[in-house]
């Protein structure tokens, strides 16, 4: 291993050095400052003669005399089953005063793409116990379903609720020997307070035992954030596909990750794409999100719930936009519902789970699931539309039918979406609440539900009671 003292330029998180031997692209670099501190970095650009190095821990204190060592390998994550229950920093070093980690293997953190031919299509229902998700936007194993939120909204509570309650119902599907659930938590640039909130909850509920936590806090180096999710996902893949765990990966906050990407792009003087984010951000995000999935012949699975806060709640901002194009749907946390006190404030209309249709129905959840959710969507959308109208013309001007839809929309938010962060509803309960609501509407309005299901679940008396409502 050769050591150089040939730094020519330092700019933002980048260091340029002259070399006289070839250096591989993406190789790991150690830079030792004059006072003996060692910083790590990665080769971003390698030409014969010079290399550009991106440092993870900032360039402060590095000078022209600092020495540069190339380790001759790309970045690796030491993986072992013993990682469960451990808390690591954003670069993968333990910070919980526990014993040293003895790795089984060291894995390249830039995971290879899963061959689409080798994938197993995800269709096993995960019950999160949250009606707005289970009933309307069902999560399945191997899916990547982000939470789109905004600053100041309780997305963390929702994520914790999912992490706590997620199970695969016993009777669902053909029972193999049950694999265990594990949670991998990758935090990028979250505040110490938020981190405490997560850690307290993990410890209180005993979830930490089956978790691996990666913490890059708001005051940790920003560039390190580009590595944290890759360490988390490498660990997840190892646990899922080598050890047979069902791994739920929660990544928060992807917005901070993208900011870090932009910072590096700007330092390299790249041609920027929309809003200054690099043109390759789609590819870069895909290399993270696409690491969710199942593989034929393997028991385990990687399910991802990335959380991102949309700058000024704008879903067309590049970060949520590119994410939505890669992930299989999104769960939208809504500011209005939140101020109404709905817990969790999930707005189901713009939410979507693309893999829902294959994960529900007879033998998976319940035969009427698809119809109920379609019908509720249509009815709630209609009620929402009418709310605008009511503001102008008042309720009296509307027909009886319209009034029923308005009541439906109100009760849907109050009874179906609203459940509190500590209530765990199973899928039967969720669907039954759904039927209570649908029974407010006249039978012949239910054109998306099979007739036999109407026979079975529709309760007549509800519809009478409603007209007397206001």
């Amino acid at each position: 291993m050769k050591e150089y003292q040939t730094i020519t330029e330092i700019s933002g998180p980048l260091v340029f050095a002259e070399v006289d031997e070839p250096v591989g692209y993406d190789e790991i670099v150690e830079i030792e400052t004059a006072d003996g501190e060692v910083r790590r970095g990665q080769v971003l650009d390698s030409s014969s003669g010079t290399v550009a190095i991106q440092t993870f821990e900032g360039t402060g204190g590095i000078d022209r005399k600092s020495s540069v060592r190339f380790l001759g390998e790309t970045m690796k994550m030491p993986v072992t089953e013993d990682l469960l229950g451990r808390v690591l920093d954003g670069s993968g070093n333990p910070i919980d005063d526990g014993p040293d980690i003895v790795p089984d293997e060291r894995r390249d953190i830039v995971g290879a793409a899963i061959n689409p031919y080798s994938r197993e299509y995800p269709e096993e229902f995960i019950q999160t116990g949250v009606s707005a998700i289970d009933g309307m936007n069902t999560l399945v194993r191997g899916q990547k379903l982000p939470i789109f939120s905004g600053s100041g909204l309780p997305h963390n509570d929702l994520a914790l609720q999912i992490a706590r309650q997620a199970t695969v119902p016993e009777d669902a599907g053909e029972d193999e020997e049950e694999s265990e659930f594990a949670v991998i938590f990758g935090a990028m640039g979250i505040t110490a307070e938020e981190a405490n909130e997560f850690m307290d909850d993990f410890e209180r509920t005993g979830a930490l035992e089956r978790s691996v936590v990666f913490m890059n806090l708001a005051d940790d180096p920003a560039v390190e954030r580009t590595v944290t999710p890759r360490l988390a996902l490498t660990t997840a893949e190892y646990l899922a596909f080598d050890k047979g765990y069902h791994v739920l990966v929660i990544l928060t906050d992807m917005t901070n990750y993208c900011e870090a990407l932009r910072e590096i792009g700007a330092a390299r003087e790249e041609v920027p794409g929309r809003r200054g984010y690099p043109g390759y951000m789609y590819t870069d995000l895909a290399s993270l999100y696409e690491r969710a999935g199942r593989i034929k012949g393997e028991d385990g699975s990687v399910t991802q719930i990335p959380i991102l806060t949309m700058p000024s709640d704008d879903i067309t901002h590049p970060i949520p936009d590119l994410t939505g194009y890669i992930t299989e749907g999104q769960i939208m946390v809504d500011r209005d519902l939140n101020s109404q006190g709905v817990q969790p404030p999930v707005n189901v209309l713009p939410s979507l789970s693309r893999l829902m249709d294959d994960g529900i129905g007879e033998g998976l959840t319940r035969g009427d699931h698809g119809g109920v959710s379609d019908q509720i969507y249509a009815a709630y959308a209609e009620g929402e539309d009418l709310r605008d109208l009511v503001n102008i013309v008042g309720r009296e001007a509307l027909s009886e039918r319209d009034n029923k839809y308005l009541d439906f929309a109100d009760r849907f938010e109050e009874e179906f979406v609203q459940q509190g962060y500590n209530t765990n509803r199973d899928i039967d309960e969720t669907l039954n609440v759904g039927w209570d609501l649908l029974s407010m509407l006249p039978k012949d309005e239910l054109n998306r539900v099979d007739e036999e299901n109407i026979e079975q679940y529709y309760t007549e008396d509800e519809s009478v009671e409603v007209t007397a409502d206001d």
């Binding site: 790309t74 899963i114 899916q143």
Partner: protein, 592 residues
């Protein structure tokens, strides 16, 4: 991808720099677009720029760990695909490496690097039946025989274009039936040229044709809103832009399943891995509505998911359209779906920015529009050089950032394509699928396809359609008023129009892609359903004129059955509609 055929690969070139998928090399003797093998692992790449002694290469595989000083070898041949029997029922990556073979060779579910595989199985033998006799004169592109490639498709073996001079013919001196593999000679010409089943073609070059013709036949899709309102022609071009979650992929997949093409080439360009898996899982089990055989028997899949190397994403649309053109040359109608062309454009942008080219609009390269039009121009209804007629219809999904259609990829695509199916987030949110907006969408093929519909479906097809369009237009205008004053403030006839429009939207335009029956609606049924709604419209307005209030008209018992026509099996539909029409008429007339 085809292995370089020449064995004298010249050892030359040294890597100068590496930056992501872009590698530069010095002392490399290669032409533009030649395929090269990069580094000690022999990663596949393509020459994209030559400047002095410096050659720039885009690499189709991950470049981690590749260092300056490693060798670069040129194959001396441009990026080509292997054309021959065995392409159907296959799934390829962006440079035509079969993914199942890669899995086997790499012995892993993850894609490794530096592994190459031929696009078609070189060992497998096919049962060749000659279609010419010894002594027959053949020219470029002429069919010498065929092999049963799948239960649905006979693969024609053709004289590769360029074998003879243009307009030159040569006599066949020997041709034999029997079992051959793709590299064995099946026919020999007097010029000494030997014809094999396999031929190669550079992907960036269109295969030659005799003449492009005006398409007059529709590519029916079994989707009511498409066949009924915005039809696509065989050999036509269409774009489906829409924000995420609006159902682009479902629409593309429905087309791939039900379009009445002979061959379907489905390109998953930079999209989700699980979606491709769904296609791989579904297609072998689904029957082709035309032949009843498995859908895979007419399908070639190209899967370059978003996390696979970006340069291969750039090339995958070319790989796809070259394969499509090959089947067109045999006289087949080919439908090509590219999902999504935005990812392809982004791949161009990414490579362009690594080359530090001067960017055009929104960072896309200045040649974006040229590349897009080049691609769509390869579609069309053609007279082939061997005299057969075939078509390639190209349907490109577009994923505009934020659903904003004013961005460069959508705009440049719209300047070329003649059919525009605009997906709408609002419709998708209320689960109105397919979420195609009927106000914004258009098809410029409508008029040239009308004669076909008149002849094959119903004489008053154009009039019925126009009626539906008028009602939907009127509804759009009325809705604006309703938003202000409420529905009950409208005069009764307008209220009735709204009700009719509701059936048009809910019963006719909406279609459930997941329902076993409703997912495919033959044009006849599309027509009958529309007819039933029109009939209700006429009867209802008669009743209204006779003084029956709107509430009573819309309260008729049989009316909700209009919503169930779509899910009624095709062979019972006609009877169901007749009965329904009779009931509606009877009940309405009983009111006055």
């Amino acid at each position: 991808m085809s292995k370089a055929t020449e064995s004298d690969v010249r050892e030359d070139g040294i890597i100068e720099s590496v930056s992501g998928p872009v590698v530069t090399a010095v002392d490399l003797e290669a032409r533009m677009n030649d395929v090269v093998y990069v580094g000690n692992e022999g990663l596949m790449g393509e020459v994209i720029e030559i400047e002095g002694n410096l050659t720039t290469i885009q690499v189709y595989e991950e470049t981690s760990g590749v260092a300056p000083g490693e060798p670069v070898e040129s194959t001396g041949a441009p990026l080509s695909v292997d054309l021959g029997p065995g392409m159907l029922d296959s799934i390829y990556d962006g440079v035509q490496r079969p993914l199942d073979v890669l899995e086997e060779k790499m012995n892993s579910a993850f894609l490794d690097r530096g592994v190459d595989a031929p696009g078609i199985d070189l060992e497998k033998t096919w049962d060749f039946t000659p279609e010419v006799e010894e002594g027959d004169e053949v020219g470029n592109g002429d069919i010498v025989g065929s092999v049963p490639e799948t239960p649905s498709i006979d693969h024609k073996v053709m004289v590769p274009p360029g074998t003879l001079d243009e307009d030159e013919t040569a006599a066949v001196v020997s041709v034999e039936s029997g079992e051959f593999n793709v590299e064995q000679t099946v026919a020999e010409l007097e010029t000494g040229d030997e014809i094999q089943m396999r031929q190669e073609w550079p992907v960036r070059e269109a295969r030659p044709t005799e003449e492009k013709q005006t398409p007059t036949e529709p590519l029916t899709s079994g989707q009511r809103i498409l066949d009924g309102l915005f039809p696509l022609a065989k050999g036509g071009t269409a774009a489906i832009p829409g924000p995420f979650g609006s159902g682009k992929t479902v629409a593309q997949q429905s087309l791939a399943k039900f379009a009445d093409a002979d061959i379907v080439v489905y390109i998953g360009c930079g999209e989700r891995g699980n979606e491709m898996t769904e296609v791989i899982d579904d297609f072998p089990d689904l029957p082709d509505p035309q032949t009843g055989n498995a859908l895979m028997a007419r399908t070639c899949l190209i899967a370059n998911t978003s996390n696979m190397p970006v340069a291969a994403r750039e090339s995958c649309v070319y790989t796809g359209i070259t394969i499509a053109e090959h089947y067109r040359d045999m006289g087949y109608d080919v439908a090509l779906m590219a999902d999504s062309t935005s990812r392809w454009a982004e791949a161009m942008r990414e490579i362009s920015s690594r080359l530090e080219e001067m960017p055009g609009e929104e960072g896309y390269p200045a040649y974006l529009a040229a590349r897009l039009s080049e691609f769509y121009e390869r579609a069309g209804y053609f007279e082939n050089i061997n005299g057969t007629e075939g078509s390639v219809s190209a349907i490109g999904a577009v994923s505009p950032p934020g659903g904003d259609f004013s961005e460069p990829v959508t705009q440049n695509t719209l300047r070329i394509v003649k059919t525009f199916w605009a997906l709408d987030a609002d419709l998708a949110e209320r689960r109105h699928f397919p979420a195609i907006n009927w106000d914004e969408s258009y098809s410029l093929y409508r008029d040239q396809l009308d004669p076909w519909f008149v002849e094959n479906v119903a004489e008053d097809w154009p009039e019925q359609r126009q009626w539906a369009i008028d009602v939907l237009d009127e509804e759009g205008e009325l809705q604006e008023i309703v938003q202000l004053v409420g529905k009950d403030a409208l005069p009764e006839d307008q209220q009735l129009t709204l009700e009719v429009a509701r059936f048009l939207k809910e019963a006719w335009l909406q279609q459930n892609a997941l329902h076993d029956v409703d997912r495919y609606c033959p044009p006849e049924k599309t027509y009958e359903m529309l007819g039933a709604i029109k009939m209700f419209n006429d009867e209802a307005f008669d009743a209204l004129e006779a003084g029956v209030p709107v509430e009573e008209i819309t309260d008729v018992d049989s009316l909700p059955r209009l919503n169930r026509i779509g899910t009624t099996p095709d062979d019972e539909a006609e009877e169901f509609v007749e009965e329904l029409e009779a009931d509606i008429t009877e009940e309405l007339r009983a009111l006055y």
